[in-house]
């Protein structure tokens, strides 16, 4: 922090230069996977020397927005009046009521809006799991996602799986993953119709997966 502060001042207090220095740094570009992780962990178990990226759970708003992105519902407009919970705009613009709480966002540690919060908590609770796997909101996103995918790819199971995984995990599925997915969708012949209910379930599972919820 000292070094950064000094750098900031040296560069005439310009934020752009500061941001560039941070974003182009080796530390910033790290992955959470490190070839020497086990030996480094022995020496620096709390990872205080920042030798790898710390795996991060998405924040409450990011979880909601990422789901809307995956289901292609996200209204990505900047600014404008505040929105209600049901509107698929970014969570940033959602109205906050201090005597109510949106169960999804608050379950994932959104600040209460009553006192300033310097650092948000990051918890892992069964309540979150229940909301994600049983809750109406997440299931509705999965339904929308399945409907849009079907609209675009018909019953081409491989294409459906490829696109669903790409949308949720930001990468192509492995051969094994495709095999598991095909088995889950109960498709035996390539010409076979993909059951929209099963595709919905598949999307729902992707939205619940750690690879979706964590950034590494």
């Amino acid at each position: 922090m000292d070094w950064l502060t000094d750098y900031f001042i040296q560069n005439e207090w310009r934020f752009k230069a500061l941001h560039r220095a941070i974003l182009l740094s080796a530390v910033w570009k790290q992955s959470s996977e490190h070839p020497l992780a086990s030996s480094y962990r022995e020496r620096d178990p709390s990872e205080s020397l920042l030798w790898r990226f710390r795996i991060q759970r998405l924040k409450a708003e990011q979880i909601r927005d990422a789901m809307l992105m995956a289901s292609e519902e996200l209204d990505n407009r900047i600014g404008g009046p505040s929105i209600n919970e049901a509107h698929p705009g970014r969570a940033l613009y959602m109205k906050q009521f201090r005597n109510q709480n949106n169960s999804l966002l608050h379950a994932f540690d959104l600040g209460g809006g009553l006192k300033s919060v310097a650092v948000r908590n990051t918890t892992t609770t069964p309540t979150q799991s229940l909301i994600m796997i049983n809750g109406e909101y997440v299931l509705s996103r999965a339904k929308k996602m399945a409907a849009r995918l079907t609209h675009r790819y018909g019953s081409d199971a491989r294409a459906l799986i490829q696109e669903a995984v790409q949308r949720c995990w930001g990468r192509a599925p492995s051969t094994d993953e495709i095999k598991n997915a095909i088995a889950f969708l109960n498709v035996t012949k390539s010409s076979e119709e993909v059951d929209i209910a099963l595709l919905t379930d598949f999307c729902h599972v992707l939205l619940n997966s750690n690879e979706f919820l964590y950034l590494d």
Binding site: T124, N134, S209, N210
Partner: protein, 473 residues
């Protein structure tokens, strides 16, 4: 719970990091101290500060402010001075509706002394009155909350300004959970409505959301929000989804060893499903005998709703739920600015038998010894009338009572003045009430701290004292 613990704190693995990342949303603190004790031999990390007499709490919250003058704090002078202004010797009170010059309202009650202790109770609480020897009435309570929002907020969070953790959250933080399948802080209301302030009454303030109370609706097919699989899903479908999820998560984990939060999240799904499996049994009142149901008034229309919640409370504490809060008169219904006779006689009827039944039932099952039952509202009511036949809010002197959990029954603590307007003797502010509840649970209100923004926060905001008269000292 050790079966589910394989995150071993290593040097440099902070307590905070453990709490945040562990899969134990319910009561991670006490659990972590348990682990740290066994792993690091750190004896300082005990969850309770001194031996407790109470292990769990059932808090009966009469929302809106019940009249102490008509229930447990008889004032004959009210009837003598009926219709006259407050005598000149009294300090002019500040009340919500400004009722200071209005004439004194009589309390046309029939008072009787009960039990060995000879505690007073009015005819509005005949069933509770049968248990007076288990009850300690605190007649000298006072609060800063002059209106409902501030009063309810303070009674729950110790301050009338929003944003701090509720007492239930502090208890869960301090003692952790005593069960694996149910939340440890549960709230039930006697209608589908909301108490004033809504969920922030049981909010966790600056603590992680996992410490907040969980609202439970015992009459619903889904007692806890999102507890059940979505409509139209059978077990097989749900299992199939979970199996795929498990497969994906395990694959993901394999390439990311030593990332404990990923394992914690996988386990949080397992915990969620244990909860899903166990909660329906916990709230299934058909397992109770007809006699027990009748004891709580489930067989009568007027008492069935609150009776059901009282009976559920007993079932929950039996299963290790540590803190249960029941709202009576949800949505400020005890607020009786006008027509107090009709209002209170109706609400007392709905609450008295269930509460009396709860005390008896806890006692006969041997649960009362370690279960602290608290009864009270956010404030009391004024001796002065409002609108001719009602009473205004009285934050300066009111009663609550406690039973069980080591409380010495058959005694009154403190007193109000001759008209019940101001607490005068052995005054107990909400800080003291909370400090005493924590004290009965073995928690020292000054030693229990939570680091927030670099500052150790205490449940009673650095004030409050455990009134040991409660335990007969």
């Amino acid at each position: 719970m050790n079966n589910y613990v394989n995150i071993e704190p290593k040097p440099g693995f902070s307590r905070r990091a453990f709490l945040e990342r562990s899969g134990f949303g319910f009561g991670a603190i006490a659990l972590s101290s348990l682990i740290q004790r066994t792993v690091l031999g750190d004896e300082a990390e005990t969850s309770a500060h001194f031996p407790s007499t109470a292990k769990r709490v059932i808090w009966l919250f009469m929302e809106g402010g019940p009249s102490h003058l008509d229930l447990v704090d008889p004032k004959p002078l009210l009837n003598t001075l009926a219709g006259q202004p407050l005598p000149s010797g009294f300090k002019e009170p500040l009340t919500a509706m400004g009722e200071k010059g209005s004439p004194i309202l009589p309390a046309p009650r029939t008072w009787k002394q009960h039990g060995q202790g000879g505690l007073w109770a009015s005819e509005w609480m005949p069933h509770i009155a049968e248990n007076m020897d288990d009850i300690a009435v605190i007649r000298s309570c006072w609060t800063n909350g002059i209106n409902h929002s501030g009063g309810v907020c303070q009674m729950n969070t110790c301050i009338n300004v929003a944003g701090r953790p509720s007492l239930g959250s502090w208890v869960q933080y301090g003692l952790g959970s005593a069960n694996q399948n149910l939340p440890s802080f549960v709230v039930m209301c006697d209608s589908a409505g909301r108490p004033v302030n809504g969920p922030r009454n049981w909010g966790s303030g600056f603590m992680p959301a996992s410490h907040q109370g969980v609202r439970l609706n015992g009459t619903s097919d889904e007692p806890i929000t999102s507890l059940n699989a979505p409509k139209g899903y059978n077990d097989d479908q749900q299992q199939r989804k979970l199996a795929l999820l498990q497969q994906f998560n395990q694959q993901h984990l394999r390439t990311r060893p030593q990332q404990s939060e990923l394992e914690a999240r996988i386990r949080s799904y397992e915990l969620a499903f244990r909860m899903q499996a166990k909660a329906p049994e916990a709230v299934d009142l058909s397992r109770e005998s007809e006699r027990t149901q009748a004891l709580y008034g489930l067989d009568q229309k007027e008492t069935a709703t609150f009776g059901r919640n009282c009976l559920l409370a007993r079932r929950l504490v039996e299963r290790g739920v540590r803190f249960v809060q029941l709202y009576s008169g949800t949505g400020s219904k005890w607020d009786s600015h006008a027509g107090i006779e009709a209002n209170h006689s109706r609400l007392c009827r709905s609450m008295d038998k269930p509460v009396g039944g709860l005390l008896k039932d806890l006692k006969q099952r041997g649960l009362l010894d370690e279960t602290l039952v608290i009864w009270g509202g956010e404030f009391g009511r004024t001796p002065m009338s409002e609108k001719g036949d009602g009473r205004d809010h009285n934050p300066t002197g009111f009663s609550i009572w406690m039973a069980g959990g080591g409380v010495k029954g058959g005694q009154t603590i403190g007193s109000t003045d001759e008209l019940g307007l101001y607490a005068v003797e052995d005054k107990m502010h909400v800080h003291d009430i909370h400090a005493s509840i924590l004290g009965l649970l073995g928690l020292d209100n000054m030693a229990l701290t939570y680091d927030h923004k670099g500052r150790p926060e205490r449940p009673t905001i650095n004030e409050g004292r455990f009134n040991k008269k409660l335990i007969g000292a």
